[in-house]
Amino acid sequence: MKPVAFEYVAARSVEEALAALARDEDAKPIAGGQSLVPALNMRLVRPTLLVDLNRAGLDAVEVNAVVRVGAAVRQAALERDPRCHPLLREALPHVGHFVTRNRGTVGGSVAHADGSAEIPLCLATLAGTVVAEGPAGRREIAPGDFFVTHYLTTLAPGELVVATTWPEPGVGEGTAFEELALRAGDYALAMVAVKLRRSDGAAHDVRVFAGAVTDRPTALWDAAVSLEGAPVTPAAAREAGALAAAAVDPAGTIHASAVYLRHLTGTLVERAVLRAWERSE
């Protein structure tokens, strides 16, 4: 398995990368390459030009009201960074393996938009943003307006993800991530992320999102709203789980039937909302 021939440019800046991408409509940006190089090797993708972002100055983490994570920041680096949001830190060990996280990037995972990717799910749950730059300038995109379906986003041709922004944990905030995969590092069968805020002994601003059983990070509003304004008791968590299970419509696979995946989603939501509540104390 070897890639088809292509040209290669190691961009030294975002401007250089954008100029190179504008030259060739079949150009593709490459960052960590942990999804793209396997696809190149299998010839599932055949770009004529690869624009390498590894030395384009996109590897900084900055805090300025929100945490701005450069697109080429390695997943392993963010995992060890104290500025990483606790929800994302809980999810990152589920991304690939120790060795692939050393190379894989945060922005690459977001731009790749695999429906079972953990980083997009966390970004949507925390209501972060995707920062993109292209021929038409720079824009900041809400996850709901970015992820369309598996491997498809609203990035325009020639446009690049240059960063993601993540809110800092708020007062009384509790978050939790749950995932089940057949083996550690495999694609998730189902995954769930929860964020809530505890105030006066009740849960507020509850957000429940699911991935892998959906084609993109998907809000489960019925489950979230059912928890609003009351303490999260085991019974309330079970009810939220049942609402979540009813809200997803996964396709069964040879490994797990649709009925099982729906049940699993409910169980993961039940666990995640209880843990997020405990952590919000």
């Binding site: 398995m1 070897k2 890639p3 088809v4 021939a5 292509f6 040209e7 290669y8 190691a10 390459g33 942990q34 190089v37 396997p38 190149l40 090797n41 299998m42 690869l50 390498d52 590894n54 392993a76 060990p93 690939g96 393996h97 120790f98 060795v99 692939t100 050393n102 190379r103 083996r183 550690a184 590092g185």
Partner: protein, 155 residues
């Protein structure tokens, strides 16, 4: 063809490569460093793991051109004039390999993990989830890495 200059196992290398050449094939076919094994060529099996600027990576998921200006270490770098490295020696004592196909990749990832501190058994097992071994059942590999960790001098 693109000119690249990098350091491989302490030796400076200058070569011209096609952009599509994978780092695995560059190491094996250009430099004759066949200790880096090629299994799945899509980042799953872990056999091709090498260190790139000190960090373990899948050499099948890195292009040789991307290693321009970098330092690459392969399994051939582990043993010194005195013989096997402490990690390799622990693998030998614990029978942590049988056919040996997966071993170079596991050694390089374990070497990276051990260089960052003293990993727990859980952290070792988690690291190994990215490496397919069909001979050992993993238990002797975990034991060997724990042994090498416990024999490390200093922090």
């Amino acid at each position: 063809m693109t000119g690249i200059r990098l350091t491989v196992n302490g030796r400076e290398v200058v070569e011209y490569v096609e952009p599509r050449l994978l780092l695995t094939d560059f190491l094996r076919h250009r430099l004759g460093l066949t200790g880096t094994h090629v299994g799945c060529e899509h980042g799953v099996c872990g056999a091709c793991t090498v260190r790139l600027d000190g960090v373990s990576v899948r050499a099948c998921c890195v292009l040789a051109v991307q290693a321009d200006g970098s330092v690459v270490e392969t399994v051939e770098s582990l043993a010194g004039a005195e013989g096997l490295s402490p990690l390799q020696d622990a693998f030998k004592r614990h029978h942590a390999l049988q056919c040996g196909f997966c071993t170079p990749g596991i050694l390089m990832a374990a070497d990276d993990l051990l260089s960052r501190g003293d990993p727990s058994r859980d952290e070792i097992v988690d690291m190994l989830s990215g490496h397919l071994c069909r001979c050992t059942g993993y238990a002797p590999i975990v034991a060997a890495i724990e042994d090498a960790r416990d024999r490390k001098e200093g922090p």
